[in-house]
């Protein structure tokens, strides 16, 4: 068996880490960096696949100028932001409620069952969630309208009206990602040292005081994680919305990923779409730097 020329103090050669890392770094460079560089170059070109005769000439910052003055692009970003500030508070409040229910002493078996079922929404194929949405929110035979009917509210054209379609994607996103918040908060709650929580429970009967002064400090890291990760996920959100509404009716659910996909793969204006993608990438990099700064501080 060949032996590495090991330096005595560390037990491995200088290049040993390199050999273990090289394959995955090379691969991630090939699939994760090279295409981004290609997109960057394309974003400075006129690159329309429906007009190949014109070639793909460099046009400087024309695409960026077009994107930054394109009101549809801005409104899709704004809609994405609106979607984020709509779903996030609902998910945090519901998630917190569920986490507290799961943390409360007693009813062990029912609690374990509830905890396990929370995984189901998280694992459900996002595209299939969209398919389920098409059935559930159908105007004529959907179960959502049946529920409204029981409450004495008349039938509602969910997917056919702008407000209804937006509400439908909000409801499904809340269904799919509330468990994520709940599980993160539950992990935070279980970090509270048992004796401190016991003592606080003896001290006060107010659940709110317990939450505010004893449990909240342990929930803060999870809350930050949820806020940052959900923002990245909302910028990524595509599958469920594409399947359910294709961004419509009109532009009621035209989130940024849906819009860029349409510019790139329906209009085939890849130059403009690349410029949009690069801008989205910059936004994502800012968010992920923030994420790393705030949450992995202790690692480095």
């Amino acid at each position: 068996m060949p032996q590495t020329t090991a330096t005595p103090n560390r037990g491995y050669g200088r290049w040993t880490p390199f050999w273990f890392l090289a394959p995955s770094v090379a691969m991630l460079f090939l699939i994760g960096i090279y295409p981004l560089l290609f997109a960057l170059v394309t974003s400075f070109r006129r690159y329309n696949l429906t007009r190949p005769r014109e070639g793909f000439p460099f046009v400087g910052f024309d695409n960026y100028a077009a994107v930054l003055t394109d009101s549809t692009f801005w409104s899709s970003l704004l809609l994405t932001a609106k979607f984020y500030v709509t779903v996030l508070p609902i998910q945090i409040v519901l998630g917190m409620g569920i986490a507290l229910l799961l943390h409360k002493p007693g009813l062990g078996l029912l609690k374990s069952l509830a905890r396990v079922t929370l995984v189901v929404p998280l694992a459900t194929t996002y595209a299939v969630v969209g398919l389920i949405g098409r059935l559930v929110f159908n105007r004529d035979f959907g179960v959502a309208n049946q529920a409204l009917d029981l409450l004495g509210i008349g039938a509602f054209d969910w997917l056919g009206s702008p407000a209804g379609a937006f509400a439908a994607i909000v409801i499904l996103d809340v269904w799919q990602w509330t468990p994520f918040c709940a599980l993160i908060f539950l992990a935070g709650l279980s970090m509270v040292p048992g004796e401190i929580e016991e003592a606080a429970r003896l001290e006060t009967s107010s659940k709110l005081a317990l939450l505010r002064y004893v449990q909240l400090p342990y929930l803060m890291p999870g809350l930050t994680a949820v806020m940052i990760l959900r923002s990245a996920d909302v910028l990524k959100l595509f599958d469920m919305v594409f399947v359910m509404t294709r961004g419509g009716p009109g532009s009621a659910t035209d989130l940024v990923s849906i819009y860029i996909q349409r510019v790139g793969f329906r209009i085939f204006d890849l130059g403009t779409a690349s410029a949009q993608a690069i801008l989205l990438l910059i936004l994502t990099i800012v968010i992920s730097r923030l994420y790393i700064r705030v949450l992995y501080r202790e690692v480095n």
């Binding site: 090991a6 037990g11 880490p17 273990f20 890392l21 995955s24 770094v25 691969m27 991630l28 090939l30 699939i31 994760g32 290609f38 997109a39 799961l102 009813l107 029912l110 509830a114 396990v116 929370l118 995984v119 189901v120 929404p121 998280l122 694992a123 459900t124 194929t125 299939v128 969630v129 969209g130 398919l131 389920i132 098409r134 059935l135 559930v136 959907g142 049946q146 269904w175 993160i184 992990a187 970090m191 890291p221 999870g222 990760l229 990245a232 990524k236 595509f238 599958d239 990923s257 996909q261 790139g264 779409a273 993608a277 989205l280 994502t284 968010i287 994420y291 790393i292 949450l295 992995y296």
Partner: protein, 272 residues
Amino acid sequence: MRLSSGKVAHALGLAAVIAFSLFPFYWMVAASFKTQTDLLASPPLWLFTPTLQNYQDIFADSKVIGAVGNSLIVATSTTLLAVLLGAPAAFALARYEFRGKGDLWFWFISNRMISPIVLALPVYMLALQMRILDTHLVLVLIYLTFTLPIVVWICTDQFKSIPPELEQAARLDGASQFTIFRKIYLPLGAPGIAVSAIFSFIFSWNELLYALVLTRRTVQTAPVVATSFMSGYELPWGKIMATGTVIVLPVTIFALIVSRHMVRGLTMGATK
């Protein structure tokens, strides 16, 4: 044991959580056993005579079978490749000190944040030029952008928990670093490797955008085919829901197996 009102409220709350989590899934599975007439009943039926017709239809449909096969090939290949490439990298990150380690680590992790549409555009153009559109290869490769980071993250964490004394003993016996990796870290880290493999399978299996953009006819994956039923005049709801069930069921089972690690997998371990 007496039932207090607090306990009843707690139980009702938990029951509501279970109903909330399972309802859409239940509704899909129930719909997959309904006839088209029952599916179009208004208001929708909660009680009905179940039929297996929809499943017979999709299992006789070569398009659905082929798509499930494609999903299986792509998800399995990308998972194997991610473990093959990611486990050694995780070993290096867990055991060695070297310059730029922190940056490298963050680069791996930040791939999780990138929106698929950002990569889908250039990869489509490159694949078009290289004539590898509509092949398993292009999907397997592009899926590595999210499967590789997850394997690296979970395995690094797992390898760090292996006591270094074991390694020192082996080193005194003259074992090379590669032998130490293969004989000590791979077997002892097997649980973490398995969890990371399950996650990368789930994420690849569930993916739609890349599959939609990078495939045409031959390698359409299951979510793409399920979505493609959504056009035409009268939608075959039973068939759509049966296909949905076939897609969701295997990953749900996998997810239940790794349910304890779900949060770690989705946050890349930001919260312990």
